[in-house]
């Protein structure tokens, strides 16, 4: 029989991680971006280097009026932020931070994670359509076009690792990982990370929310707490993408003293990948729509197909 207390404890930890880690990433983004641009970022809220800035922002968002445009489709408009945010919470349940450290041990957790992540984009589409605003609709269209292009390389890159490990379970993939994969699966890692960034609509793939052209894309009409939920979804997405990259390509809990410190390794690697996501935002300008499509279809898809060939040769011949 299932140990209910153990399960409740694990789910509680996942919930806490879901509430805390995105805020940490958000604060890291404030400070890292600021220092890269020779600023200091938030300094006052909470005292020490503005650590409570995002808490203060959250309080501000809660106090604001929750406006629904008169022409909007009310029910879809109100549901959209939840559809965008909840998948990331569900995905965290399946991510193993230590050999016995996933809140739920599924046989096919890799497919579970990919499937549930792909639902989140429906939230952006619902928001874009239901706002009854032309900029929102254009943003929604760009979200859909981007997702359709990048979903294929994203899934294929994950498939390459599953083939290499001979397992569809995230725990099994980390257990089968060895440092040689850093070279062998390098193209897949690059493709997975880049396509994941595009799915999250993070810069340089933030065409759907390009502020110079379409204000804030699908989220233009949102205010108050619902807007905050979309922002939270973005940061939760970074946490999920970073932890998935860690688990699939960087060996998860593996490292010195992994018996005791496995969870620390997972969190450290996740933090490094999250920092890379922020760094890329500062380093690169936004890509145009045609450049986005060219990169996906002429760059990432051939590269990941090539990777699948290498993986097959490696699995069969070695």
């Amino acid at each position: 029989m299932i140990d209910w207390w153990d399960l409740a404890l694990r789910l509680g930890i996942v919930l806490v991680a879901f509430l805390v880690l995105p805020l940490l990433v958000g604060q890291l983004e404030h400070k890292a971006m600021a220092h890269m641009q020779a600023r200091v970022g938030p300094m006052y809220a909470g005292g020490f280097h503005g650590w409570a800035q995002l808490v203060a922002d959250g309080v501000k968002f809660v106090q604001k009026e929750d406006v629904v445009p008169a022409a909007a489709d009310r029910s879809v408009f109100k549901l959209a932020p939840a559809v965008a945010l909840l998948p990331y919470l569900v995905v965290l349940v399946a991510i193993p931070i230590a050999p016995d450290g996933a809140a739920s041990s599924l046989d096919v957790s890799l497919f579970f994670v990919l499937a549930v992540m792909s639902v989140g984009v429906l939230g952006s589409l619902m928001a874009g359509w239901s706002s009854a605003n032309k900029y929102s609709l254009l943003g929604g269209l760009r979200v859909a076009a981007q997702l359709v292009s990048y979903e294929l390389p994203f899934v294929l890159a994950a498939v390459s690792v599953a083939m290499a490990a001979g397992s569809l379970s995230l725990t099994g993939i980390v257990a089968a990982w060895n440092p040689w994969w850093l070279l062998w699966q390098l193209p897949a890692m690059v493709v997975f990370f880049v396509a994941g960034l595009a799915e999250l609509q993070r810069p340089p793939f933030d065409m759907p929310v390009a502020d110079a052209e379409i204000i804030f894309g699908p989220y233009t009409e949102y205010t108050g707490i619902r807007f905050a939920l979309f922002l939270l979804a973005e940061y939760a997405g970074i946490v999920v993408l970073a932890s998935l990259t860690t688990v699939l390509f960087l060996g998860g809990w593996q490292g010195p003293w992994s018996d005791q410190l496995g969870w620390l390794w997972t969190l450290l690697k996740t933090a490094v990948v999250s920092f890379l996501v922020i760094w890329l935002r500062v380093a690169y300008p936004r890509m145009r729509e045609d450049q986005l499509q060219t990169l996906a279809w002429k760059g990432l898809v051939p590269l990941v197909l090539f990777q699948l060939v290498i993986t097959t040769v490696g699995v069969v011949a070695l």
């Binding site: 489709d73 096919v108 579970f112 499937a115 992540m117 359509w129 359709v148």
Partner: protein, 168 residues
């Protein structure tokens, strides 16, 4: 009834009810969103039948890709918010008859083919990826290959259609 049976009936009712709403809703985008509920409830049914792998593939392909494509096409063509009066098609009777006939054929053939089969959903290894893979690439490999040729034909068709403009 066991818990699994109760959940199965609830999910089935959910799939059926939202499928009806897909057909009768007066707003095209609402139809597509109800389709999300239908396909999600079906994925839940697969899960309860121990077809774990199939359930997540259903979510990945249908919810994550097919419905997104549908919504994309709707937004590109015409998708005003609010109800639209003229959505009811003039072939609705023909469409209903076709749907009923297709459902009848499926129900009869499934009942005739698998009516007496009982699966042990507790054993855990009937619906996992390994079992599905070995069945698909073992006894059903011919059908699988035929389907892949069909997809290839559709792909070539799409390329031909999209390049026609350039030749004119």
């Amino acid at each position: 009834m066991t818990l699994v049976e109760v959940l199965f009936v609830l999910l089935g009712a959910m799939a059926l009810g939202s499928a009806v709403l897909v057909a009768v809703s007066n707003n095209l985008v609402h139809c597509a969103l109800w389709l999300v509920v239908t396909l999600g409830a079906l994925a839940g049914c697969y899960l309860l039948l121990a077809a774990e792998f199939l359930a997540w593939v259903q979510v990945l392909i249908y919810l994550g890709a097919v419905v997104v494509l549908l919504l994309f096409a709707l937004m590109l063509t015409r998708a005003p918010t609010g109800t639209v009066a003229d959505l009811t098609s003039s072939n609705r009777i023909l469409a209903a008859l076709t749907a009923a006939a297709a459902a009848g054929v499926l129900i009869v053939s499934f009942a005739a083919g698998f009516g007496g089969t009982r699966i042990q959903i507790d054993s855990g290894d009937i619906g996992n990826a390994e079992a599905l893979g070995s069945t698909l690439f073992g006894s059903w490999v011919l059908g699988f290959e035929v389907l892949s040729v069909l997809l290839l034909a559709a792909l070539i068709g799409a390329i031909v259609l999209s390049r026609r403009q350039e030749r004119d």
